[in-house]
């Protein structure tokens, strides 16, 4: 492990000011710390944002759920307020990693990292989330750009994620038996204006499956999925699952999610 300078920022402004091309923000550190330890990443400065109070907390209003970026998975998993309006989001948080990860990992860290098999990005897409940063608001559809890539700019800090409350929703995943990351995760959300089917794990980046969304917007039942053909083209293929298997799992888990809505 290479040594680095540790800073604990008192507010967003200071954190942003400290950042450079060789720095990283630290929230839960569930990816950053292991990457440093394994020598996969090294930074001159680590800027801890956990002590910035304004970045943490959950607020439920009539139409949205707003979650501060350094809010831990366990806090979402245990939130009665969120459970009332979006139970699937609580279930998703309960199913991330293991208790150790849930006790430290944060929602902001998860989406800023944009791991192709992370759970939260699918919630952002399915629940028409708006990502609030210290300089702007970004629609989820425009936030996730590619594998481990987002539209965040250097020094930009996520402050909160604001989810729209759907009529119905459910998240189903097939966890990798080794890592328990999603091999495939499907988040189905039925909003007034239509249905979103967000898929994580299957491709290099989370995406909204337009065919499944359209079919379910027309007819919100699992049988509506039967006729949708899921192409394996562009899907990930590794020792755990071939593209063909992932395509099958998208369909199977989309059905499961609809049935569980």
């Amino acid at each position: 492990m290479k040594t680095f300078n540790y800073h604990s920022a008192k507010d967003v402004k200071e954190a942003s000011k400290l950042s450079s091309s060789s720095s990283a923000f630290l929230a839960g550190g569930m990816t950053t710390i292991p990457s440093i330890k394994l020598g996969l990443a090294s930074y001159k400065d680590i800027i801890d944002i956990k002590k910035i109070k304004s970045l943490s907390g959950i607020k439920v209003t009539g139409k949205t759920v707003r979650i501060g970026s350094t809010t831990k998975h366990v806090e979402v998993a245990k939130s009665k307020d969120v459970k009332k309006v979006i139970p699937s989001l609580v279930a998703l948080a309960e199913g991330i990693g293991d208790p150790q990860v849930r006790n430290r990992g944060t929602i902001g860290g998860s989406i800023a990292n944009n791991d192709p098999s992370a759970d939260y990005p699918s919630a952002c897409i399915a629940l028409n989330a708006v990502i609030h940063t210290n300089s702007r608001k970004i629609d989820a559809e425009k936030f996730f750009k590619g594998m481990f890539e987002t539209s965040l700019k250097s020094g930009e800090i996520i402050e909160a994620i604001e989810f729209s409350i759907p009529e119905k929703s459910n998240y189903q995943k097939y966890p990798n038996p080794a890592s328990r990351y999603a091999v495939v995760g499907v988040y189905v959300a039925k909003h007034k204006k239509g249905v979103n089917v967000a898929v994580t794990g299957a491709k290099s980046c989370v995406y909204n499956d337009k065919d499944l969304s359209k079919a379910l917007t027309n007819n919100f039942s699992s049988s509506a999925i039967d006729s949708v053909r899921i192409s394996s083209s562009g899907m990930n293929s590794d020792i755990h699952a071939s593209a063909e298997y992932r395509a099958n799992m998208v369909k199977v888990f989309a059905k499961k999610a609809v049935e569980a809505c």
Binding site: K2, T3, Y174, P177, A178, H240, V252
Partner: protein, 791 residues
């Protein structure tokens, strides 16, 4: 005093181990200690053209950097293969040199090239990045099945063949096959596994220049063996100048039986720099460089009559032993594999032929069960297939071929002293509600799931082993065990054993045995192991041997204590020694009320005098003190056996397989502590289910280890399993006075075939381990296709 043998005494060691008070090698620190970090090969096969340490030597904190050239200059010997195997043609096995630091070539990813020793671990690791190694990369040999037809790795080893070994009689088998009504054939792969002990390997060597003594702390199942190898073969220090201590050890499963390059290098380096050298593997190093397990490719055939009677068996196996022949690498796929491959059956004719091949992968050695899981998997999937093809019930075909007379001369090697396989299988069927399976299958079907049932009846040869037998078969050492029972003057007891607990609970079970033998309360007995300076030489813990061999040595040493106690008691009680009886901790003169407790006798032995007069309680010529040693060499192996029945439920849409029900009925002879035995069975079963459904060591075709972390190597977890239904039958072993048979490996031996037979029963297709969701899903799809084509 009630007997402790057979009772569920809670593990004495758990208080320490579960509250963080254990002391492992990584917990040991010395003043002035340095830290070692190994430069390892990133290539599976390459020539080392140059190792440039100049820049690294200048890095912060670096104390020393040592390379293969240094170790060769100091004439430090290579790592050894401990068991000599001869090929069918009579020629000796061929093994390459295995220097602790590579000199000319590297032969697997993770092979040791140099060691950087620095003031801190971070400095050692950072400097290691600056060691420049110039490699000429060569084409790697990875695939077990293709190894004999690939590039030759070592100049003197054609076809990469270590040996081509035969056990059995080809002509008799040919004859038997000619008489068969049907021949059942299978091709299978026994998947390669990575041991994954909870505690990574570690070494901390301290050298005292004034006494010239090295003290090596290490993660070993077998510290005495480590000492003799590092002394006699590596030549680091004479045996009397090397003390090896294996403190608490957090699991091994075979991977910590023998010393590795790191222990040799740390001991040698500590002497060289005259400072302690500490090394602790990180998890990636464990994946890359711990010896792996299994890795067989097998073709087997069973000749049967239409009524299900077995006539003959042949087994053609290629065993991958990795880049070098590790200590027990050559016996694992031969004498630990071949004899058990005919299973628990009467088999008039049989042979096993094993071709052991070198590849550019980590060395492969003994891993829980070592050879016997591979043997049992072969015969038990074959027998199940025979039942299917003959239209017989899988239980019926097994019953038909079980031996019922004991001792039973098994086809290839063993004379099995005791057993009752019929009762074991019957009990398993009853506990598993075998008859109710069809109903449960219909219930699963109503939920869209496929349910399957699978059996496995096994026997295995463990409790290794009779020294004359194993040495005749090529073992470089005897496999007896020692014990020293030492009464302290105040009447409590320390028992030294040459075996070494690395999770098995010896502190408890061995104390139970000594408590019963001596009539001393269990709280007054300590078990001491793991230090070559304490207690006599021993052979460590593996091959389910510690209780049957080491436990028996304790009994024998206790017998000697009691014999001496009787002589002393006779003198003190003024009786004839033949009239002194011993029970419940008391020496009693027959038909009298005269007695002495064993504590009083111990006290008298240590303080043999009386104030004011010249008087000894000891008989004339008797030495003071009360301490006895015994070395026990068993007359035979021990042969645990049993039947396991597994039920799985498969989701055909996703291929996910759930173990729905698992029953294990085992015969371990006399059970000392059911709590400990059940723990062993649980652990073995989950390890076996891990092999069947989850675990797989995967190298890509360039020899890079793809499954080098827990992100990719699937360890089974608690939520993968149902409650297990365990039960026991008991036919005591006749080869040891306790009547015990080994129990440590049985679960891992029996469960893979039970699970896989259940999976194959559920989906109706042959499938290889591990039965991952995708593989099962593909098999289900193919069946669907076939069925729709047929319709």
């Amino acid at each position: 005093m009630a007997s402790l043998v057979g009772s569920r005494v809670e593990r004495k060691e758990d208080k320490k181990l579960l509250t963080g008070r254990g002391k492992y090698t990584a917990d040991v620190n010395f003043i002035n200690q340095t830290f070692a970090y190994f430069v390892r090969s990133p290539h599976a096969r390459a020539q080392i053209k140059k190792v440039d340490i100049a820049k690294a030597m200048k890095a912060s904190g670096v104390v020393s950097i040592l390379t293969g050239a240094d170790i060769a200059n100091d004439k430090i010997g290579g790592l050894i293969a401990g068991w000599r195997i001869k090929s069918e043609d009579g020629s000796d096995m061929k093994v390459p040199a295995h220097p602790p630091l590579a000199n000319e070539t590297v032969n697997y990813v993770g092979d040791h090239v140099a060691v950087v020793i620095a003031e801190s671990l971070d400095e050692a690791r950072n400097a290691a990045e600056l060691v420049k190694v110039d490699y000429k990369i060569l084409k790697a040999v990875v695939d077990t099945n293709k190894a004999m037809n690939s590039d030759q790795i070592y100049k003197d080893i054609p076809k990469n063949l270590c040996f081509d070994w035969l056990l059995g009689d080809r002509a008799k088998v040919k004859e038997a096959f000619e008489k068969a009504d049907k021949i059942i054939k299978i091709d299978l792969i026994n998947n390669r596994l990575i041991p994954n002990a909870m505690e990574p390997r570690a070494a901390n060597a301290d050298y005292n220049p004034s006494t010239e003594e090295i003290t090596l702390y290490t993660t070993s199942q077998n510290p005495h063996l480590a000492r003799i190898i590092i002394s006699a073969f590596n030549g680091v220090a004479p045996e009397n100048k090397l003390r090896v201590i294996a403190p608490d050890v957090g699991g091994g499963f075979g991977s910590k039986i023998y010393p590795y390059a790191e222990e040799v290098v740390c001991s040698w380096a500590a002497k060289k720099i005259e400072r302690p050298v500490k090394w602790v593997a990180d998890r990636t190093e464990s994946f890359l460089s711990d010896c792996h397990g299994r890795d067989h490719v097998t073709h087997a055939e069973l000749a049967v009559k239409n009524d299900g009677t077995f006539l003959g068996f042949k087994n053609e196996t290629i065993a991958n032993i990795g880049a070098y022949a590790s200590v027990f690498a050559t016996v694992t796929p031969t004498y630990l594999f071949g004899p058990c491959a005919t299973g628990v059956y009467k088999m008039p004719a049989a042979y096993t032929n094993v071709k052991a091949v070198f590849t550019n992968t980590a060395p492969v050695d003994a891993y829980r069960g070592a050879g016997r899981p591979e043997a049992t998997y072969t015969i038990e999937t074959l027998v199940e297939k025979a039942a299917r093809e003959l239209g017989m019930d899988p239980a019926e075909i097994r019953m038909k071929n079980f031996p019922t007379q004991f001792p039973f001369q098994q086809t290839l090697v063993h004379s099995v002293d005791s057993g009752d396989y019929v009762s074991g299988l019957k009990k398993a069927m009853e506990v598993a509600d075998y008859k109710g399976f069809e109903k449960r299958k219909r219930d699963s079907a109503s939920r869209g799931k496929l349910r399957g049932i699978g059996l496995c009846s096994y026997f295995e040869a463990c409790g290794i082993a009779p020294s004359p037998v194993v040495m005749m078969l090529g073992c470089g050492i005897g496999l007896w065990e020692s014990a020293e029972v030492r009464f302290n003057p105040t009447g409590n007891v320390t028992v030294f054993t040459g075996s070494h607990s690395h999770g098995q609970g010896h502190d408890t079970t061995f104390a139970q045995i000594a408590a019963d033998q001596l009539g001393v309360p269990i709280e007054n007995i300590e078990i001491s192991h793991g230090d070559t300076d304490k207690g006599p030489f021993g052979y460590g813990t593996y091959g389910s041997r510690s209780l049957t061999v080491g436990g028996t040595a304790i009994v024998k040493a206790c017998d000697k204590i009691i014999a001496k106690g009787k002589r002393v008691a006779a003198k003190m009680l003024e009786a004839n020694v033949d009239d002194v009886e011993f029970s419940n901790g008391e020496f009693v003169v027959a038909k009298s009320n005269k007695k002495k407790t064993i504590g009083e006798i111990a006290f008298a032995c240590y303080l043999p005098g009386t104030y004011g007069e010249v008087k000894s309680p000891l008989p004339e010529g008797e030495e003071p003190g009360l301490k006895e040693t015994s070395f026990f060499d068993p007359a035979n192996f021990s042969f645990p056996a049993g039947s396991h029945i597994c039920e799985v439920e498969v989701d055909p849409e996703t291929g996910e397989t759930k173990v729905a029900k698992y029953t294990a009925i085992d015969d371990f002879g006399t059970i000392i502590n059911p709590l400990v035995v059940e723990g062993q069975v649980h652990g073995g079963i989950v390890q076996g289910i891990g092999q069947a459904l989850y675990e797989n060591c995967h190298y890509d075709n360039t020899g890079q280890l793809v499954t080098a972390s827990y992100m990719d190597y699937t360890m089974p977890r608690a939520d993968n399993f149902p409650e297990f239904d365990l039960g026991f039958t008991c036919t005591p072993a006749t080869s040891n006075p306790l009547g015990t048979k080994g129990c440590g490996e049985a679960g891992a031996i029996a469960s893979p075939p039970a699970v896989m037979n259940a999976v194959m029963n559920a989906i109706g297709t042959e499938i290889s381990m591990p039965a991952t969701a995708e593989k099962v899903w593909k098999a289900c799809n193919q069946n669907k296709k076939k069925n729709s084509e047929a319709a």
